[in-house]
Symmetry: C2
Subunit: 162 residues, 2 copies
DNA sequence: TATTGTTATACTCTATAACTATA
DNA sequence: TATAGTTATAGAGTATAACAATA
C-alpha cells in the first residue's frame, strides 16, 4: 500500500530493533553472576529441544558455530552440560544438560519471571501472548531466508527429561 | 490469571528477547561499511529528536553516557555531526547533524527499507504497525522504571531540520 | 574432498571508575 | 559540592579464517 507510510514503518521498526537491546539488558540484570546471557540461552535451548549437536544449537541461536563452541565450553566448565559421543558421527558430540544445569535453569527461570512480572505488571496475559506470537513470526521471517526450515522440522519439547 | 501459564509466557518472551539480536544483526548486514549500528542509532535519533546534548542522547539510547560519548566521537570523526557550544551550560555541547550526516542517514534508510522489505514481504502494513506499537509499549514498560518519563516529555520531531 | 567442530584474531558494544571542567 | 562529559580499563558477544579430525 502507501509506500511512503510503509517506509516510515520500516524505519520505526529498525529503531525498535536497535532499542530492544536495552530491554534485554534490563531483564538480564537479575541473572546469576556466573551465568551470562549466552550461557542462559544454551541452557534454555538444550532444555527446550533436548540433547543436540553444536551445529544444531548454533542454528537455533542464529550465531556462528565458532561462537557457539565457546559458549558451550563456558557452560561445560561450570558443569551445566556434558558432551557425549555421537553414535552416528564421530566428529560430533551430543550436548546434554546435567542435574546442576537443570537447577541453574530453575534459578534462571525464577529470575526471569521475577523481572518480567515487575516490568510488565500492567500487561495482560493476552498482551504478552500476542507479543510472543509476533516476535516468533518476526524471527521466522528473518530466519527462513538463511537457515531454511530448521526451526520447524522438529520440536521435541519432550526429550528434555533430565 | 493462571500463574503457571503466565510463567511460561514470561520464559518464552525471555527467549525471544535473547533471539531478537539475530534479527537485528541480519538487518544491519546491509548497512554501509563504515557505519556500525551504534552510529546509525546516533544519526537516527539526532534526526528524529533534533539537536541535543550527550546526556539526553544517552537516555534515549538507554546506554551509559561514557558509551554514548564514544559513539558520538566516532560519528563526529566521520563528519556526520558537529558539536556546538551550549549557550545554557558551558559544560555541555549541542550535537547537530551535518549535511553529510543527513546524506548518510538517507543511505541508511535506503538499506533498512530494502532489507526489511525483503524479509517482511508477507507482512501487511497493519502487521508491522501493530508490531511497532507493541515494541514501543515494551520499551516504555522497561524504561519507565529507570529513566522516568524521558521518552514522553518532549518529542519535537520538527527540530530535525538539517 | 566435504563436513564438524575448535582455536586465533579482531571488532563492536557495554559498564564501572577515575578524571577534567564548569555550575 | 554537584553535574556534564571524557577517557581508561575490562568483559561479553560476534564474525572470519585457519586448522584438526572424521565422513
Amino acid at each position: 500500500m502507501a509506500a511512503r507510510a510503509a517506509r516510515r514503518s520500516y524505519e520505526e521498526l529498525a529503531r525498535h530493533l536497535s532499542g530492544i537491546g536495552a530491554v534485554r539488558r534490563e531483564m538480564v540484570r537479575g541473572f546469576p553472576q556466573d551465568c551470562p546471557p549466552a550461557s542462559a540461552a544454551v541452557l534454555t535451548l538444550l532444555h527446550k529441544y533436548g540433547e543436540m549437536r553444536i551445529g544444531r544449537l548454533s542454528e537455533l541461536m542464529a550465531i556462528d558455530m565458532s561462537v557457539t563452541s565457546r559458549h558451550v565450553s563456558h557452560v561445560e566448565e561450570r558443569g551445566w552440560l556434558e558432551r557425549h559421543a555421537d553414535p552416528q558421527d564421530g566428529r560430533s558430540r551430543l550436548l546434554r544438560l546435567t542435574e546442576r544445569g537443570s537447577r541453574q535453569l530453575d534459578r534462571l527461570a525464577e529470575a526471569t519471571t521475577e523481572a518480567l512480572e515487575g516490568f510488565l505488571h500492567d500487561w495482560t496475559d493476552e498482551d504478552i501472548a500476542r507479543l510472543n506470537e509476533m516476535l516468533e513470526r518476526l524471527r521466522e521471517s528473518f530466519g527462513d531466508s538463511r537457515a531454511p526450515r530448521l526451526l520447524h522440522e522438529d520440536t521435541p519439547e519432550t526429550t528434555a527429561r533430565h
